[in-house]
């Protein structure tokens, strides 16, 4: 006579079991990890290096003729004849303006440092999207139903996806940051290793919110094609209506309005201030507050929706 199952999964047991499955699958396919890393690396290498905005303002680009005649009547008060200004000196003067302009607009001296940090948001976005989509497959392959028939709590099923997305994002973000440093990222003097922990915390908050959103979207669709279309539709505005590639202050006001509620902006800003920009506690706290609220609100909505769906 067989005995009744005398065990019962604890809350964390189930979450961890399901997360472990995802992580195992992920680690068994290093090619997927490689592709996921390669994309932001290409952006970083091509876009980040090619868009050498800092260099645009350098003295070599400001070619002022060696002698600039200035008509006398242009000067007030008018003088007899005309005066000359040394172009070389002017070039140097304007050349020195470059870093100052960069510092004022971007907050860093070189564009590469600016955008390579933005790539972390990029990778967080894609990882959470694919993690959300994976539930479509779990459903189609029947795995979801199978798990639903076990005593594992519904919350664990959802949370394991979120956790998986977060852990993957953090791992990939570490690689991206390391590569960026190799490629010439300039860390700010105010950076301290403890900031890395705060970077992870910020990533986790965004993952929590974003993956809940994508999960809730994915749960309703049975086709990954639909999901793919949605993802493609929203990732462009999320990416470009944010400070990932360009400072919000330089955008037209309607894009600014979007960028200011776009959680991607806040993650990017927080990471920048923790790594490449001068550390500013109040800004970082503000970023974290926004990310925290975003995570709380959207994970609650996402989990509520998924819950309703899973207990149909």
């Amino acid at each position: 006579m067989s005995k009744l199952n005398e065990y019962h999964p604890g809350r964390f047991h189930g979450i961890w079991a399901l997360t472990k499955r995802e992580l195992k699958k992920w680690l068994k396919e290093p090619i997927i990890l490689l592709m996921a890393i390669l994309q932001p690396v290409l952006w970083m290498g091509l876009f980040g290096k090619a868009m050498n905005i800092g260099n645009m303002f350098s003295s070599s680009n400001i070619n002022i003729p060696s002698v600039i005649p200035i008509p006398g009547q242009a000067l007030i008060p008018p003088q007899n004849g005309s005066i000359s200004v040394s172009g070389t000196a002017l070039s140097q003067m304007f050349g020195n303006l470059g870093p100052t302009i960069m510092q004022n607009i971007f907050g860093v001296k070189d564009y590469f440092s600016y955008m390579s940090v933005g790539m972390i948001s990029f990778i967080v976005m894609f990882t959470t999207m694919f993690s959300g989509m994976s539930i479509v497959w779990d459903r189609r392959l029947g795995f979801l139903n199978k798990v639903l028939s076990t005593p594992v709590s519904r919350g664990a099923i959802i949370f394991s996806k979120v956790l998986n997305a977060s852990l993957r994002s953090m791992f990939q973000a570490t690689i991206i940051l390391a590569l960026a440093v190799i490629f010439g990222l300039q860390v700010s003097p105010t950076f301290s290793p403890i900031h890395i922990l705060a970077v992870y915390a910020a990533i986790f908050l965004l993952c929590l919110g974003l993956s809940s959103v994508f999960l809730a979207l994915a749960l309703r669709s049975t086709k990954w094609e639909t999901q793919m279309a949605i993802v493609n539709l929203i990732n462009l505005p999320l990416m470009f209506a944010s400070n990932t590639f360009f400072p919000i202050s330089q955008m037209p006001s309607w894009i600014q309005a979007i960028a200011q509620v776009n959680p991607i902006s806040y993650l990017t800003d927080a990471i920048r201030r923790l790594t490449v920009m001068e550390f500013n506690a109040s800004s970082v706290v503000f970023d974290f507050t926004f990310l925290g609220i975003f995570a709380a609100v959207f994970s609650l909505i996402g989990i509520a929706l998924s819950w309703r769906y899973l207990t149909k």
Binding site: S2, G10, K25, E29, T150
Partner: protein, 333 residues
């Protein structure tokens, strides 16, 4: 507890307010039996099983598994049942053993117990040699066996099998039945299964409920169902000329005799028992039986009788169809 392990009363599921998949179904499953739901695709078999395994909430009516209410005590139900779904749910990227251990984790079974059980189960389904191979490399039959092993990891009292041999070829199907019988014996379980294969229901199930359009049409053992049609057909020829119709009709259990040229077509209950009596009766009068053929009605005829049609393919929801097609494709891979 030889009583009812599963009990359903007025169990109903309505999708989207107007599509009634399961319509006030009543049945009970006794301890230790294999109870089968037989019906065409789309008859409501999977919906019923999904309600019993607490994935779907019934719209109306109630059901209990081992005394636990499926709606109110779903956690208790989930803990005592094993499920082998229609699809291949094992993760293709993981190995067989990893898959079983994952299932064990979902039931909260401690690792050392899980490893022991996994080893036993792998031996039972003869996958021990393949336990460290990725499931991708498994054949359809092996995958099905792995699903069976996963379904047993929590030592369930009741095992639910949804189309356990969907997409398998005939030999693998028969082998799978053997595994199912072996498992049932080993763990003394009660089994609830659905199938749309008549031979499967006939060979494996102790009792069958034929379901059509969400309703149970008839319940009984395969034998009862066949006998309910009015008996077997005995075809018989004798060496001598005279008409013996009346003589045959006088034998007990013979219901109908028809002379067709030189042979007699006899409809009789319990044909295998009645046939010797007919031969005996004829011999006593000096006739010699030269040829005798006994045909038992198959479930196909039973099915025809109760549903008014042969097993048909009903168009299903696109999703179910796609899932089944995928299962079949993977079974054959």
């Amino acid at each position: 507890m030889s009583e009812e392990i599963i009990k359903a009363e007025g169990l109903t599921k309505v999708f989207n307010k107007h599509l009634t998949a399961v319509d006030h179904v009543n049945f009970s499953v006794k301890h230790g039996e294999i109870f089968g739901f037989l019906g065409p695709n789309g008859a409501g078999k999977t919906t019923t099983i999904n309600m019993l395994i607490t994935i779907l909430k019934p719209t109306e009516g109630e059901a209990s598994v081992l005394g636990f209410d499926i709606a109110k005590q779903h956690d208790d139900v989930r803990n005592v049942i094993g499920v082998v779904p229609q699809e291949y749910t094992a993760d293709e990227d993981l190995t067989g053993l990893e898959n079983i251990l994952l299932c064990a984790d979902l039931y909260g079974i401690p690792r050392h117990v899980a490893k022991e059980r996994a080893a036993d189960l792998l031996k039972l389904v003869e996958l021990t040699d393949f336990k460290d191979k990725k499931v991708q490399t498994y054949s359809g039959g092996m995958r099905r066996r792995l699903e069976l092993a996963c379904g047993l990891i929590n030592r369930p009292k009741v095992l639910f099998l949804d189309e356990p041999t969907l997409g398998l070829d005939v030999q693998t199907r028969i082998a799978t039945w053997e595994y199912i019988r072996k498992m049932k014996k080993e763990y003394s379980m009660t089994l609830f299964m659905t199938t749309h294969y008549l031979e499967e229901a006939d060979s494996l199930c102790d009792r069958i409920a034929i379901i059509d359009h969400g309703k149970i049409v008839v319940v009984g053992t395969p034998e009862e169902l066949k006998h309910s049609l009015g008996g077997d057909i005995i075809a018989l020829s004798i060496k001598e000329d005279p008409d013996v119709t009346e003589l045959i009709r006088s034998v007990e259990h013979v219901k109908e005799v028809k002379k067709e040229d030189s042979s007699y077509r006899i409809k009789a209950e319990y044909g295998e028992v009645t046939a010797p009596f007919i031969i005996e009766a004829l011999r006593r009068k000096g006739y010699t039986v030269t040829k005798l053929m006994l045909t038992e009605p198959t479930l196909n005829e039973v099915y025809l009788e109760y549903t008014g049609k042969s097993m048909r393919d009903v168009e299903e929801s696109v999703e179910t169809f796609r899932a089944q097609r995928m299962t079949m494709r993977r079974a054959r891979a």
